[in-house]
């Protein structure tokens, strides 16, 4: 596969197709980043489109010191910051109202029952809600680490802050999320705990 750097070099030479190959490669991660930061589908799409327009126009200024993707992330984060400032409100992730079982059925894999899928969707909503309560800095650090899979060093470069600051933000943010999810009734341990708990409460009801 052609590397990002090769495509960037061709795009700098005026090859629009090469640039659009980069767009195709990166539109989903960029959209996902924008969506998680600002929490609105339509606006996230606009931010993604604007990111690529700016990247294309600014290609001459991209020296290749950072990875192309890091450069894109930086543009996206700046646009998101502008968006938040403009809207003057804390970003709130849109949780879809209700769960469409038919739509879900098409998403479920054979290994996962509908019940599991519904609870995964509900869990996703609880996570989105908890994330939206975090301070911007912590939320951004978690998004970049957890969902975009950047290294601590990449995040530090992107946010122009020391490595230790990135780690602190992550640590604090994760602990807030953990508490919030526990309060929302989400188990903080894996596996077999829940069925047992259900059985126990069922027995206690019978005993009454």
């Amino acid at each position: 596969m052609t590397t990002d750097e090769e495509l960037v070099a061709r795009a700098r030479g005026g090859d629009l197709d090469s640039f659009n190959q980069l767009v195709l490669r990166w539109e989903r991660p960029i959209y996902a980043l924008a969506y998680r930061v600002i929490g609105r589908e339509e606006d996230a799409r606009d931010v993604a489109q604007e990111t690529f327009l700016r990247a294309f126009r600014g290609l001459g200024g991209f020296k290749g010191e950072a990875k192309f993707s890091s450069w894109l992330y930086r543009i996206t984060l700046n646009l998101c910051r502008d968006w938040i400032r403009r809207e003057r409100r804390t970003p709130v992730a849109q949780a879809p109202e209700g769960v469409d079982l038919i739509e879900l059925a098409s998403e479920s894999t054979p290994a996962e029952s509908i019940e599991d899928l519904v609870s995964r969707k509900e869990l996703g909503r609880a996570v989105a809600k908890a994330m939206s309560s975090l301070p911007d800095e912590q939320r951004t650090a978690i998004i970049l680490k957890e969902y975009q899979g950047l290294t601590f060093q990449e995040i530090a470069d992107l946010l122009n802050c020391p490595l230790s600051t990135v780690k602190t933000r992550l640590y604090q943010g994760l602990n807030v999320l953990r508490r919030q999810l526990e309060q929302a009734g989400v188990e903080s341990t894996f596996g077999a705990e829940r069925p047992r708990a259900v059985v126990r409460s069922f027995r206690s009801v019978q005993g009454d």
């Binding site: 629009l16 640039f19 659009n20 767009v23 539109e27 989903r28 959209y31 996902a32 969506y35 998680r36 589908e41 996230a44 799409r45 993604a48 489109q49 690529f52 327009l53 294309f56 126009r57 992730a93 995964r120 969707k121 869990l123 996703g124 609880a126 996570v127 989105a128 994330m131 978690i142 680490k145 957890e146 969902y147 290294t151 601590f152 230790s164 780690k167 602190t168 992550l170 640590y171 994760l174 602990n175 999320l177 953990r178 999810l181 989400v186 188990e187 903080s188 341990t189 894996f190």
Partner: protein, 250 residues
């Protein structure tokens, strides 16, 4: 004391070599860190269930986008742009546009009498502004000349509300900055002026258009009326003919 930075690095598997060994050694004996690592691992697992929607994006950058952000140029370019747009409109709508004496005049051929007196957009206000600014520029030029600097090329575009103040204390850089600021302000105003004029022009076209609709409808109604009269008249004539024929047959 527990090192939370190490804990986070361990959690994300970004600890190598000796650091990793040191932390693992600590973890083996620290109940608090064990709980924390376990709890945060669970939290991380939960985070994975927050999936963004997956719309069909199909984003693309086109040739048009590449040069999309053109700026409306100042003064003359703007007038030319206005003339071009309105000429295009007039080609379709039989509109007359005059650009003279700093005012834009728009007339439509559809319904001349429907044009309210306000429909002639005047740029007289901006002409006064222009005079004021030209005056200010002359002052600035005089000032610069007094310092032995080259005179400014006069841009007939700079507008300002700023009161004339003692400029003797201004440095060249400050002067340049202000001139630039005036010019950009004036560009903004011209953009607004252009937009206003264009909107007014379009409004008038629309008004004329709807007047036209009304007239057309009236004409059609009249025509329909006349047509049914004609039908009635012909029917009466036919009846008359029938009567005559019948009378002859008898």
């Amino acid at each position: 004391m527990c090192d939370k930075e190490l804990l986070v690095s361990y959690l994300y598997d970004e600890l190598q070599g000796s650091e990793r060994k040191v932390f693992q050694h600590h973890l083996a004996s620290c109940r608090e860190c064990q709980d924390e690592v376990q709890g945060l691992r669970a939290t991380r697992a939960h985070l994975m269930s927050w999936a963004p929607p997956e719309p069909v994006l199909g984003l693309q950058v086109s040739d048009r986008d590449a040069g999309r952000r053109f700026r409306i140029p100042a003064a003359w370019g703007l007038a030319a742009a206005a003339a071009l747009v309105l000429a295009a409109a007039s080609a379709i709508a039989n509109v007359e546009v005059r650009y003279a004496d700093g005012g834009v005049t728009i007339r439509t051929g559809w319904a001349p009498e429907a044009s309210p007196p306000g429909a002639t957009v005047s740029a007289a206000a901006s002409r006064e502004d222009l005079a004021a600014v030209q005056q200010r520029i002359r002052e600035l030029e005089a000032e610069l000349a007094a310092r032995g600097a080259a005179p400014l090329t006069t841009t007939p575009a700079a507008l300002t509300d700023e009161p004339s103040r003692s400029a003797n204390s201004l440095t060249d850089a400050e002067l340049l900055r202000r001139v630039r600021q005036w010019i950009s302000e004036s560009e903004k105003r011209q953009e607004q002026l252009f937009a206003t004029q264009f909107v007014q022009g379009m409004r008038e076209l629309q008004a004329a258009h709807s007047m036209d609709h009304v007239r057309l409808e009236q004409a059609i109604n009249q025509h329909q009326g006349a047509w049914s009269d004609e039908v009635y008249r012909q029917r009466e004539e036919l009846k008359q003919v029938f009567r005559l024929v019948n009378a002859q047959q008898r």
